[in-house]
Symmetry: C2
Subunit: 227 residues, 2 copies
């Protein structure tokens, strides 16, 4: 008998909930795994989508993670000023087999000092700013560098989690989960990434400009603190 | 000024949470829409993935839906014996512009008497049993019949919700949301549906057999009650 795999997923206010819930659906089918949804306390945590999720554990009570997982969203940037959250991430990461994120969760890993010199991805609108942390931004859906695995924006969490299934188990486990969640996507448009032909280029430009304007001062302060 | 669009999403114990949270991420970007996550009371509702979601409204307090939405999961079948839930669905459906579901949420619509003679879809492992309710099972990712729109299993909720964006708004709104959630899927295998080459056919057979064995008596009782 080996101990169950411990997955520690960070939950925080204003998380882009699908960054978390997409992977969580896949994790729920991992053989012999325990998943913990962790925040400072166990009060319901408001997400970006109008509902709250209840943490299952606190920073103090969470076990050491085999897999540390950080989702993204506007709230991921608010964690830059949150010493308790950043310390929790750094301490868990030190003992984890895999350190992972989806979407702008990679920025929280970066703010915790974990991405210097590493190849990593993020949501397309924020990706370029990873460079400010000394990381190498990579425009791919799932990026691995050693024990760090990062996923791109929001829905890429499903691809990320199935990739994780292959890494932790094997291809047959991943294929069976993919079948169970009927992940045979049929997007109505070819518009899911800035490079796609049906993507609205004006919307792309505006979003990158808006994200850069709002988030680059937060990134600059976080980079400063890491020095 | 028109009133905001009211989306009423049913929340229930043992929901397959991605059936709900995938669409919810898309709904959160609908212009001028209010989304309600509704159950009998506002205590946290346990999902199938190890965490609970807090309802935002109750059956009594929910507004009349413009769009009624029912996700699936093991808990969707438990609602067959739940008069309060079935009455709520039937009453909301009577006044709704669109009646919708993802995954086996279509069975809950059927148990509420809403799918007789209608074309509809569901999770692949349960789909055949829709026929017992007098519906016409259709193996497509998103199926529309009049004011009823049903999605297939779990992850099809994202395709469903983007389809809904086109119906309620226009293609540019749907494309912009698709870009925002970076829905440019890259499944690691071609295994997401029973007909796909990398799908494990033994797993398909076993799952259909297991689902049929456990759920067909529940379906039979629900059909009986509708007579």
């Amino acid at each position: 008998m080996t101990a169950p795999l411990q997955i520690v997923a960070l939950l925080f206010p204003n998380v882009t909930q699908l960054d978390l819930t997409g992977p969580a659906q896949v994790f729920a089918r991992f053989p012999d795994a325990q998943v913990h949804f962790v925040w400072k306390d166990q009060n319901p945590v408001p997400t970006d989508s109008g509902f709250s999720i209840v943490p299952t554990s606190t920073f103090q009570e969470a076990p050491q993670a085999d897999v540390l997982f950080v989702p993204g969203g506007a709230g991921a940037f608010e964690l830059f000023e949150d010493d308790a959250a950043l310390s929790f991430i750094a301490e868990q990461a030190a003992g984890a087999r895999l350190i992972t994120s989806v979407c702008t969760g990679s920025f929280t890993l970066a703010a915790a000092g974990l991405l210097g010199g590493k190849r990593a991805t993020s949501h397309w609108a924020s990706l370029h700013m990873l460079e400010d942390f000394g990381a190498e931004p990579v425009r791919e859906r799932v990026v691995r560098d050693g024990r760090i695995i990062t996923g791109a924006g929001v829905t890429s969490g499903i691809d990320f989690a199935l990739t994780l299934a292959v890494e932790l188990y094997d291809e047959s486990v991943a294929r069976e989960i993919q079948l169970y969640i009927e992940y045979d996507p049929a997007p109505p448009f070819d518009a899911g990434s800035p490079s796609r032909p049906e993507a609205d280029q004006q919307a792309v430009k505006e979003r990158i400009a808006s994200v850069t304007e709002h988030r680059s001062p937060m990134v600059a302060r976080a980079v400063q603190r890491l020095r």
